[in-house]
């Protein structure tokens, strides 16, 4: 079985995000970029399926600016076999919307015919949590979202999902889309020899036009603003003082 893993290049999760003064977006120039943390988990899961003999090829796909090559090289260094980069933007500040990403991924999937797609549950930049579900809709496939457990059983995938009420287990027919949550696994680091080897693995470059897909955004960003800042309050010296403040000042006890 072939496994396809979409990986997104995003701002590193440790970076403090700054909104641009003119309100047009957040500043991404000279900022550390990394693979979306959820996508690292998806890549790791694909590698584990391969190690268990349940997958035979892992294809990583990224859509965005040319620099997303680096993200794909990371996936290759972790253990993906080959990569496809769809260059859909020149400006690092332009985000390709989940609907357009899903359309492009569908076109790739029509060619590649994977048995399973492992995506992240959410990209930590736009926080949309939408692409996997949209892709499943376009393909008419089953979806198993927010996975913290995954077992392949014949024609089905058994997915344990993190939901509001706890955990839900469902069985989905393959081919299927599974989106992964943070507790599915702990992704490995790429070793130096594997980083060297990854440089020789195939990385195909495409454009949306190659697939005949229009990536014009549906949403216009009117403005991007700082959230309302919270002021730090005071330090209290004792539990008694805390209780008194909560009773008399805040009125919440």
């Amino acid at each position: 079985m072939k496994v396809l893993v979409p990986v997104k290049r995003v701002i590193d999760y440790n970076v403090k995000v700054r909104v641009k003064a003119d309100g047009t977006g957040v500043d991404l120039a000279n900022v550390k970029m990394s693979m979306n943390p959820f996508d690292e988990i998806a890549v790791e899961e694909a590698i584990r399926l391969k190690e268990k003999g349940q997958a035979d090829e892992i294809v990583a796909v990224s859509i965005g600016v040319k620099q997303a090559q680096e993200t794909l090289r990371t996936a290759l260094a972790m253990g993906a076999d080959r990569a496809i980069l769809i260059v859909a933007a020149d400006d690092i500040h332009q985000d390709i919307e989940p609907l357009a990403v899903a359309k492009l991924l569908k076109a790739v999937i029509d060619e590649e015919q994977p048995g399973l797609v492992l995506a992240g549950k959410q990209a930590i930049d736009n926080d949309m949590n939408a692409t996997g579900q949209m892709l499943a809709a376009l393909l008419g496939w089953a979806q198993g979202t927010f996975a913290s457990g995954l077992e392949i059983e014949g024609e089905n995938a058994v997915v344990t999902r993190e939901v509001d009420g706890g955990l839900q287990t469902i069985k989905v027919k393959m081919p299927a889309i599974v989106t992964v949550d943070l507790r599915l696994n702990e992704p490995r680091y790429a070793s130096l020899p594997n980083i060297m080897k990854a440089k020789k693995k195939p990385l195909d470059e495409k454009t949306p036009a190659d697939y005949g897909i229009d990536v014009t955004p549906r949403l216009t960003v009117v403005r991007t603003a700082e959230p309302r800042e919270r002021q730090a309050g005071i330090k209290v010296g004792s539990v008694d003082e805390l209780i008194a403040k909560l009773k008399d000042e805040a009125g919440v006890l």
Binding site: A137, A142, D164, Q168, I170, L219, A225, A250
Partner: protein
């Protein structure tokens, strides 16, 4: 203008708080029709009919909707979408699963986690773990939204909307429910609780996490946790507060042994009053706390429990 609102129904029961908050968010967009879906949805539909601002309730009761599997539920919503400009739902995990699928089937770009409705086409939503608020305007004919409930007040009771049964759409038969593992609890639900006590990695073990629960019970509070506490097995996954967990805004949030990473703050910094108990006076949580207590939690929490 008309709105179809997917009500939150769990095992036949309406989640009134989440649904009523979403009603508040969308009622300026047009007449609100609430859709209750489930193997049993009648009681939920009757309950949704009493939410002020709901003009009509559609009830789709069928075994195929028993566990709100995404594929049949999305197909049902699409089959009903014809008469509505907006299709919305509270941003629960159920809706996050279903609504992007609905949007793609309608060739629309979903707008998730809406925190403000500016006008019929324009919405605010947080990005980058709440470090920025983006205002977006959609060009789509049908607008598909999920509503972040923590920023809206629940609509009151007093409505008496008519309830109408609607036929099930087909079942694509792509997925099957196997089981739910939910721990039963008498505590208030996290996203609607007025007081929350959350524990982090600093609590140190599953046994010691009972201390957090004890404080919560003393206050009639819900229990939350940081990702680190959940990952370490001190607390179940559905207690996680943050960017990738639940977003809460109680009257009082008490963070114990939590450092205050941005991903955690994303889920609680709109709480009215924040208390932090941490032994590290440099912990970033103190930058958002109204009342900070620099102390060892193993001294402070038992003392709090005793004196409250």
């Amino acid at each position: 203008m008309a709105v179809l609102l997917l009500a939150e129904v769990t095992n036949g029961e309406l989640q009134r708080d989440a649904t009523a908050k979403a009603v508040t968010a969308v009622k300026s967009l047009g007449e609100v029709t609430a859709l209750c879906v489930g193997a049993h949805a009648r009681d939920a539909a009757e309950a949704a009919a009493t939410i002020d601002g709901v003009a009509k309730v559609l009830c789709a009761e069928d075994a195929i909707y028993g566990h709100r599997l995404a594929e049949p539920t999305a197909d049902l919503i699409v089959s009903l979408a014809g008469g509505y400009d907006h299709i919305a739902a509270p941003a629960t995990t159920d809706a996050k699963n279903i609504m992007p699928r609905v949007a793609a089937l309608l060739d629309a770009m979903v707008i998730t986690d809406v925190v403000a409705v500016v006008d019929a086409d324009t919405f605010d939503r947080p990005i980058y773990a709440g470090n920025a608020i983006q205002t977006v305007r959609t060009a789509d004919a049908k607008k598909v939204l999920t509503i972040r409930t923590s920023t809206f007040e629940a609509a009151s009771e007093g409505g008496a909307a008519p309830v109408e049964a609607v036929a099930a759409a087909g079942n694509p038969g792509l997925s099957e429910w196997v089981k739910d593992s939910a721990a039963a609890s008498d505590r208030p639900e996290l996203t609607s609780a007025g007081v929350i006590v959350s524990g982090g990695r600093g609590v140190g073990s599953e046994e010691d996490f009972h201390l957090i629960e004890k404080l919560a019970d003393k206050l009639g509070a819900a229990v939350g946790a940081s990702r680190a506490a959940v990952d370490s097995g001190y607390a179940p996954n559905d207690w996680q507060v943050g960017q990738t967990g639940k977003v809460v805004a109680p009257e009082l949030y008490i963070a114990v042994g939590i450092s205050g990473a941005i991903q955690h703050l994303a889920g609680m910094k709109d709480s009215k009053v924040i208390v932090a108990i941490n032994k590290d006076e440099e912990a970033p949580i103190f930058q958002v706390a109204d009342y900070g207590l620099v102390a060892d939690l193993f001294d402070a929490v038992p003392e709090l429990i005793e004196k409250l």
